[in-house]
């Protein structure tokens, strides 16, 4: 479920790219500070976007500083500074989601991968406990998402909407927690719902071939006819929903980068996913 929210690098300005990297490096450093050196390997683009987005909403980014990269001491990195706890919140989301993803992987993957996941689990569960102590609401949202996902998949009449609902409402609640007013809450919650729906459906579309082979649950598996249209239509609709709500915001910080993600990055992810499908069908 990771890595679908990303920028389209070729369309970013250089200074925007630098700013984006500094959020990325800032989050990496925060993971190192809050959890441990090893937890830096969990760093994801989705959480980078989350950090950037909530920083932009709260206008809490206060500048940049330079330092050395832990992985490559020869390299100088720029780190983004933040007045409030956006970074450590994003780090908590990052380790919490990684933990729940691992639990999910243990339950539905093959022997070797499962063994590997089991070996990593003690680390992740320690970090997750730490995150839980700091941000219990994030952990309980994520736990709720996993629970309702399992319930939805067991339900006999689970369609696309029901399957996508847990992820969508997770992100929706996560973002609307940042709101200061009722109007903001409604806008953030729709952005979150659309994005979450997109991530879930993109992931499902990406795994469709694999899931058909292995017999794992996939919401698109039951839609027999015109599967490609169904996938494309639903992904587009989720983006339209996000975009309509996003338009009502007047962001200033990181504006160019967030515009890039929503207008270009996500559509290109969709293109990639639906595009590979076309190739597969031709080769069959």
């Amino acid at each position: 479920m990771f890595g679908y929210i990303r920028v389209q690098k070729s369309e970013l300005k250089l200074r925007e790219y630098d700013a984006y990297k500094s959020v990325y490096c800032g989050l990496c450093r925060q993971l190192g500070r809050d959890y441990s050196f090893l937890s830096r390997f969990l760093l994801s683009y989705d959480c980078t976007f989350y950090a950037m987005f909530i920083m932009s909403l709260g206008r809490s980014c206060s500048g940049f500083e330079t330092g050395r990269c832990r992985f490559n001491p020869m390299k100088k990195c720029s780190y983004c500074k933040c007045e409030s706890d956006c970074m450590s919140k994003a780090a908590a989301v990052n380790v919490t989601l990684a933990y729940y993803k691992l639990i999910d992987d243990i339950s539905d993957s093959g022997f070797f991968k499962r063994a590997l996941c089991r070996a990593v689990k003690p680390f992740l569960s320690r970090w997750r406990k730490k995150a839980n102590a700091r941000y219990p609401e994030i952990d309980s949202l994520a736990a709720g998402m996993m629970r309702s996902q399992q319930e939805a998949e067991k339900s006999p009449d689970c369609g696309i909407d029901m399957a996508a609902h847990p992820t969508a409402s997770f992100l929706s609640s996560l973002l609307s927690a940042e709101a200061q007013s009722e109007a903001q809450k409604r806008i953030y919650s729709q952005i979150g719902y659309g994005l979450g729906r997109f991530i879930y459906l993109a992931d499902a579309a990406d795994d469709l071939e694999k899931d058909i082979k292995s017999g794992n649950f996939n919401p698109f598996n039951s839609e027999k006819e015109n599967n490609r249209d169904v996938i494309g239509n639903n992904l587009s609709q989720a983006l339209a929903m996000t975009f309509d709500a996003y338009n009502l915001l007047d962001l200033t910080d990181f504006r160019g980068i967030i515009d890039n993600v929503i207008l270009l990055g996500l559509p290109s992810v969709q293109k990639e996913i639906t595009g590979t499908e076309v190739k597969d069908e031709r080769s069959v």
């Binding site: 409604r186 239509n233 009502l248 270009l264």
Partner: protein, 204 residues
């Protein structure tokens, strides 16, 4: 009132044409058509009002100051036509609840009905799904409603709105021209090679 220039995103020294262009862009962005049936329609309406007021203010104040003519300040997009709900609806209260965002109650009433459902039932049930973001179910319900009553404009409009969203495409909303097509077609390659070939014969 907020600074009208800030609302339109232009500098106070901007020319009349710049102000007009900025106004047009924003009016397009918040246009009611984009927010048809959306739970955020009222927020878009507020934004639209703000933009209209700012534009009117600037145009009028410039006219008074005699700095050029900006034409009439008739800001075009003011009317949010509240959907023409048929008066003989048997679900007046349900429609009301959906408008107010009380989806749980609306769904409870709709779901408590048994037997064959009318087209309006499918339409309203679809609207509940839509407001929740359950697009797939919403489309199916709207389709059913349109099938049963093909002449009803309200149902047709809801379905059209859904297909507009489904055809969002790869940044289809994006009219800012960020998507420069930098591609290179087979023709481009051919003509480039031909040009290069011409140069070759020059050297001989």
């Amino acid at each position: 009132m907020k600074d009208p220039y800030e609302v339109l995103g232009v500098a106070p020294g901007a020319s009349d044409d710049e102000v007009k262009a900025a106004y047009r862009k924003l009016a397009k962005k918040y246009h009611p058509d984009n927010y048809q049936d959306s739970p955020l329609a009222d927020l878009a309406e507020e934004k639209m009002k703000e933009v209209n007021e700012a534009y009117d203010y600037i145009v009028n104040s410039r006219k008074a100051g005699g700095s050029g003519s900006a034409g009439s300040a008739g800001s075009g997009y003011s009317g949010y036509s509240s959907s023409g709900y048929s008066a003989n609806s048997q679900y007046v209260n349900v429609r009301m609840m959906i408008q107010q965002g009380n989806l749980d109650e609306a769904e409870r009433i709709l779901d408590s009905e048994t037997g064959d459902h009318t087209a309006e039932w499918y339409f309203l049930r679809g609207m509940c799904y839509y407001r929740r973001g359950w697009a797939q179910q919403a489309v199916q319900h709207f389709q059913r409603a349109v099938q049963m009553e093909p002449n009803n404009m309200e149902y047709q409009q809801a379905l059209n709105n859904m297909s507009r969203q489904q055809n969002y495409g790869y940044g289809g909303y994006n009219t800012t021209g960020m998507n420069n097509n930098m591609g290179c077609s087979a023709c481009d390659i051919c003509s480039a090679i031909m040009c290069a070939d011409c140069l070759c014969s020059c050297c001989r």
